[in-house]
Symmetry: C2
Amino acid sequence: MSALSSQPYKGTRDYYPEDKRIQNYIFSVWRKTAESYGYEEYGASILEPLEVYTAKSGQELANEQTYTFVDRGGRTVAIRPEMTPTISRMVAARRQELSYPARLYSIANFMRYERPQRGREREFWQLNVDTFGSDGVGAEAEILTLADSIMKAFGAKSEDYVIKINNRKLINFMMAQYLGLDVAQAQFMIKLFDRKNKITDKDFTDQAAEIFGEQAEVGMQKINALLQAKSMAELPEEIRESETVREVQELFTLLERSDVASAVFDITLMRGLDYYTGMVFEVYDTHPDNNRALFGGGRYDGLVGLFGAEPISAVGMAPGGTMMENFLVVHGLLPKFRSTTDVYVAALGDVAREASKLARDLRAAGINVELDLSGHKLDRQIKTAIKKAIPYVIFIGEQEVASGIYTIKNIAKSEEYKLGFAELLNKIKESR
Amino acid sequence: MSALSSQPYKGTRDYYPEDKRIQNYIFSVWRKTAESYGYEEYGASILEPLEVYTAKSGQELANEQTYTFVDRGGRTVAIRPEMTPTISRMVAARRQELSYPARLYSIANFMRYERPQRGREREFWQLNVDTFGSDGVGAEAEILTLADSIMKAFGAKSEDYVIKINNRKLINFMMAQYLGLDVAQAQFMIKLFDRKNKITDKDFTDQAAEIFGEQAEVGMQKINALLQAKSMAELPEEIRESETVREVQELFTLLERSDVASAVFDITLMRGLDYYTGMVFEVYDTHPDNNRALFGGGRYDGLVGLFGAEPISAVGMAPGGTMMENFLVVHGLLPKFRSTTDVYVAALGDVAREASKLARDLRAAGINVELDLSGHKLDRQIKTAIKKAIPYVIFIGEQEVASGIYTIKNIAKSEEYKLGFAELLNKIKESR
């Protein structure tokens, strides 16, 4: 038999301990921040019926990017490409039992069949934060404030990112009333706006004119008026008078009150998913080397109702792990991590029994101990500890066993101490 | 469109916050114990090429229980049904860079297409703990001691479980030299022993006789001699003299030294997976209501070599989440959990701005705060906090805003206190 490949499945990543430490750091900041706002963790299976996504996630995601197959029982299933339909299903199943507003979060893995590229992987990890049962703009304000708190918890400053905010109702009003587009034209125009940053201005203008058809001239004037508006106050008057603008203004008042300084209104922001019904937002990295959307979210009031329950309002967002990691790297915000192991115990000579006992006693005192009984030479054992980023090495040989005094080396400081067991504990604990 | 089902995919579980708290508790005990032995966390994608499992996991697992499909690029892939081939692949890919012994663990989700039953789910979560590069029996001793430490960390006593230990080399010796079976017969006999606890004694005897064929009478006498042996000392002499028995005895000496009181030798223990090459073990619940295998593991020295790298020795194990939960339930070892949210802030009247500020100040001090701006009546808000298992409710109305003195209710004790902000913090923190 020829050898099997040792590479991970295409577009996915193996997380060795040094990679996993970074991921765990990101997860822990997410978890801590979400829990500080009273969100509680949930979990669900990676498989769902495909129809859960065809219903409302949008054609591209459901038909082109989803890992779909027929199971041994004949069911057409998908590996989840996103969490929103799953948590909506779970809320629908316990519609009567849950207390509202229900604040829920999860950290989970997803798959999408995409062309692998920087920041995009076929398997990816996301935090999902959702609040159910709040109709008021306070729910949007809370999710956006939480998004801002997450960025701040990673050490980001307000100028490191911008939170672009728009509203689907405003988009629909703009498409139908202001631009005079029918439903099919509006769909095309929304997709075109969604791609705006990825194509040239000329391509954008040409394709927009094509959508307008005979009304291209008037249409393009109106679009240019839109694009020139740098704030809500500069929007064309017909749009400024719509009911939704007042809602957006109220949201910005709440955000200001919560010191969210990175929020801006952006009439060109669309978001790709079909299920959004109100506010939509995206957080953008402002760093020139990573000038892209980091994550987004919005209000999706119609989704729970698809699962046979009375509809319930919902606002949520979903930051991704690799996107976050790239952000931290370009802004120099990624801390240096050490191993979860506190100390490497190197047994020298025939002291396996005593070294095991020392390791056991250290563990009982809450210290994480790797015990090396390999009999390798001392400098090889120290190299191993350095490679694993373990901060301390304790040597134990016959002399140490006889005296009860151990030699402990602080690797970063390149210092050695000779200490009894109790002092050993203090030395190790002080560095955590 | 008819409503979508709100039920999870067949054989899988939705983890609402009260279920997720239990799972998180199990994960945290696993994590803490594995890290106390110097194991470091890794992660990998849920998809692998199917051939990774057909190679060595055994026919049943690879062909009947694996979720398999062809991806959009024509690759035949599987959702991982176990972690051992993945971590072997990862070690093979970094064969030169890793330090040995490499101690690695993960907590991850898996899928198997099985008939759903108690303790068995189609999606399940496992801890995988593996050590690579140790040939000596010390590696087996460490994994078994760690298994024992995990059980103890959950509060189990030694008599609550039994660790049955056998050795594949001994099994092979027994099949070929002692029972005189050829390779094909030995395979059938191993599977039969593996099923022994699930079938009647008569079925076992009949099927064993059938495997022996003409040698049935002598064969059955030898098998009975095996089954009567309650310890290694009582094994038939021909087996007792094999090289492997000395290895098993050395392992038991090490386990005794580490105070592992639950370990017993069991010549009938086989383990289903094909890749084991030495020690195999299973941890059994001794409780009459849950008398079953909880998890197992063993030595699998040949697996890394399948991925094109020089072979490297390996010992590992994999406890499962739901199995562990069932164990904790029948033994009354599952703690009562509260919400991760410390306090529920109930705003009464027109104080949204001040309530938001209070919530923000509490969060800044490290308190997890759910803020209710719904305007619901007081008793409804208290009910919500109780339902969510949040220990404290703070009321804030116009009077509290004016005085800076808040009313805080300890739900479990049904006591109320009137406190300023600093005392509020202490009150909440003392209960954690």
